[in-house]
Symmetry: C2
Subunit: 284 residues, 2 copies
């Protein structure tokens, strides 16, 4: 009798395992100061390794964690999205708390949810929001050295905002891409870009109860940009190209000129990584 | 003729040098995360060494820098006061900018002024203000890991405030001193202590344009304490003793009991250093 049922049991067990394969989507925040970026690299600690280690400790499985964006060395995230598959039966509500126990204190899982198996953190993303924060103040703040780009000379944030509108739309952003070509296409659609003054720096996970200023006051300048995708160093090259605008040397015509040049050397410098935050990723 | 005048010139030169001995008072902010404290120690980098090195590079002189308070490892300062003597002729307005050029970016001179030669940063201080910040939130914030004490359980900040009033006045604070006796007297006068909720964390040098909440809302709990002097670990022992109050296990009578016990073991644990800030020092 047992031998007769064995193939059926095995088949059933196999099916159950297949049914139990789950896809978990994590929303992650991290202080990128002590990492060489998100993606696994030989030359230093990465956030991906920290997350995969935590998953290994929790589930015993060697998961490959996919992410929405490969943030660079020193770049931060408030809402990075990552996904991984697991056979673990841990209830979804337990993942956040349990993973946070195993993560270093500069990385935190803000949310965990179970998603369909075909969800892919990288390829399912339809748009991302990045933020770049400039601290425009005579004296730099020692507590914010890793979280803003300090710039002590006067900046015209309204001129930056106006010139930045030239970027909105579908363009070849090759001029704002480091090491081109490293993507199959450098055409992206920028859906929105704003440059505003604020009186605070975005170190909070929850900004809901913040009271933003009217956009013209405050010593922090926030550039917010939403696009369907970003090329390597694109936001930092945009910020670097808006600085001559902020200082009155360039205007919107120069941004248009840079776009049409399709040449990285036409654009400004690459702004430092520590002011950059991956804020949010949208999926269908 | 020259030989005749030489002693006079020498005398004049000597007088000039004596007249030129100046006492400089610095107001300093620092992120204490990467230091083993203010005072020179063999086991790691200290803020005092960083400041003395900057002075050496600027003036060429090996100055001894006195300070208002010897902050511990990991403790921060928004308004530490330090003083040193120099023969340098650098205009006082130049000191701030020039020293900041030579200081690491987690230490900054906020202000420099010339003070009478009898000013002594340690002994001339008449009162100091410390602040302790607790982040009372379900999830810790990875960006604030070095700047607050994260506590995820509910805290009754009003009860803390009420019980803390027992500390106001002239008392023997031996129960709140680590390694007693390490001062000639453990009697201090606490002039003011408040515990309030705020919706922000004090990482800004200039708090003037902040909009503090009414004291009952926000996920940050600020303890502010002003006294004519502080014993070793006193603020952290006070915070540790107010936590059982915050959790409803103790009340003001327990704080009174701890004070009268004159025994460190009667008080609560020592709160971690990273939530502590030396905010301000008053001089006559």
């Amino acid at each position: 009798m047992p031998t007769l049922h064995l193939p059926i049991l095995t088949q059933g067990h196999f099916d159950a395992r297949k049914r139990d394969m789950r896809n978990i989507r994590l929303t992650i925040a991290y202080d990128g100061s002590n990492y060489v970026g998100w993606q696994i690299q030989p030359n230093g600690p990465t956030v991906q390794v920290a997350v995969e280690k935590a998953i290994k400790r929790l589930t015993g499985e060697a998961a490959s964690v996919l992410s929405a964006g490969r943030t660079d060395s020193g770049v931060h995230a408030l809402g990075q999205v990552a996904s991984f598959q697991t056979e673990s039966a841990i209830p979804i509500d337990g993942f956040r708390k349990a993973l946070n126990k195993f993560l270093p204190d500069d990385v935190i899982v803000r949310d965990a949810e179970e998603v369909p198996l075909d969800f892919h953190a990288t390829f399912s993303a339809v748009q991302k929001r990045y933020r770049y924060v400039i601290h425009n103040c005579r004296t730099h703040n020692p507590f914010l050295r890793n979280y803003v780009w300090h710039f002590h000379q006067d900046i015209d944030s309204a001129a930056m905002h106006e010139a930045a509108q030239e970027l909105v739309g579908k363009h070849d952003f090759r001029s704002f891409e480091s090491h081109w070509p490293n993507k199959s296409s450098s055409i992206r659609t920028v859906k929105e870009v704003t440059v505003r003054r604020q009186n605070f720096c975005p170190l909070w996970l929850d900004e809901a109860d913040r009271q933003p200023s009217d956009g013209n006051a405050g010593e922090f300048i926030w550039l917010e940009i939403v696009a369907d995708g970003f090329l390597y160093n694109m936001v930092r090259a945009i910020v670097g190209s808006l600085m001559p605008v902020a200082r009155g040397r360039w205007d919107g015509r120069d941004i248009r000129r840079i776009l049409t040049a399709m040449d990285r050397s036409a654009a400004g410098d690459t702004a430092p990584p520590n002011g950059l935050y991956l804020v949010h990723v949208d999926y269908e």
